[in-house]
Symmetry: none
Subunit: 139 residues, 2 copies
Amino acid sequence: MVHKRPELYHTRQGRSILDYMKSLEGKHVTIGQLVRHFEDAEEIIGQTTIYRHLERLAAGGKIRKYTLNGSKSACYQYMDDEKKCREHFHLKCDVCGSLIHADCDLLDEVERHLLGRHKFQINMLKTVFYGTCKKCLSQ
Amino acid sequence: MVHKRPELYHTRQGRSILDYMKSLEGKHVTIGQLVRHFEDAEEIIGQTTIYRHLERLAAGGKIRKYTLNGSKSACYQYMDDEKKCREHFHLKCDVCGSLIHADCDLLDEVERHLLGRHKFQINMLKTVFYGTCKKCLSQ
DNA sequence: TTGCGTGCAAAGGTTTTGCATGGCA
DNA sequence: TGCCATGCAAAACCTTTGCACGCAA
């Protein structure tokens, strides 16, 4: 069972950040881009607050955190269907950045194996497979 | 064709760094670990020099550079052309934060499957499995 | 001797932390 | 009213850059 810290208070900042992440329709952003976005929108949200909300959202599985290829800053991406995403692989292409949701029976086997053999309970909400996608492989 | 900058001068520092990377037999290290290693060995090599050598070695293909998800600092790993390095799973515990290196036959199967079925070339160097480790599960 | 290599210090960038204040329930 | 959330500033990190000196060829 994944332990999820509930959102205790609802605040303007928390709502704005989540709404904006949702509005991006799965595209990823960095903290810097978020800071700039709220500056441009003339909505005051401290950068520390943004860091803290993204961290919490990532811990709760609502968004994913990535570090792409040599980039210094982390990327964050909203995940729209939590229940469904628990049941498939996430493949992130290092080259083009696209995120692939792969439904696959192998997942169960990997999960079972890691638990049985390595005593490790994998959390598919947080786990991302990095590599090169089909499109980028053929170029 | 990859353009390879030749090593122009041979220096004590360059030799030591490459030798040490080779001696690790495919295990990865961070710059910080290298700095500490040479400090402990009482061999004076400036951190800047370490950065510059690793950058050059990476550009020349002798070592690989990557960033493990969620880690701030880059990892470097010597690549042996002849012997194919045994790669392994990285399991990161959400609870206690420890990183577990798990050598495992399942890896090959996962790799093969993702490539064959999903046309996705996974990069095991960058991929980290998140979850709960043995120790934390039993608490 | 030439010019790359080295190492110190400082700069640059990202993320985290401390703390007083603000605001939700 | 009790706490958590916020935001500023500072700290903590990791990495890069500038520059004078060292050293290999």
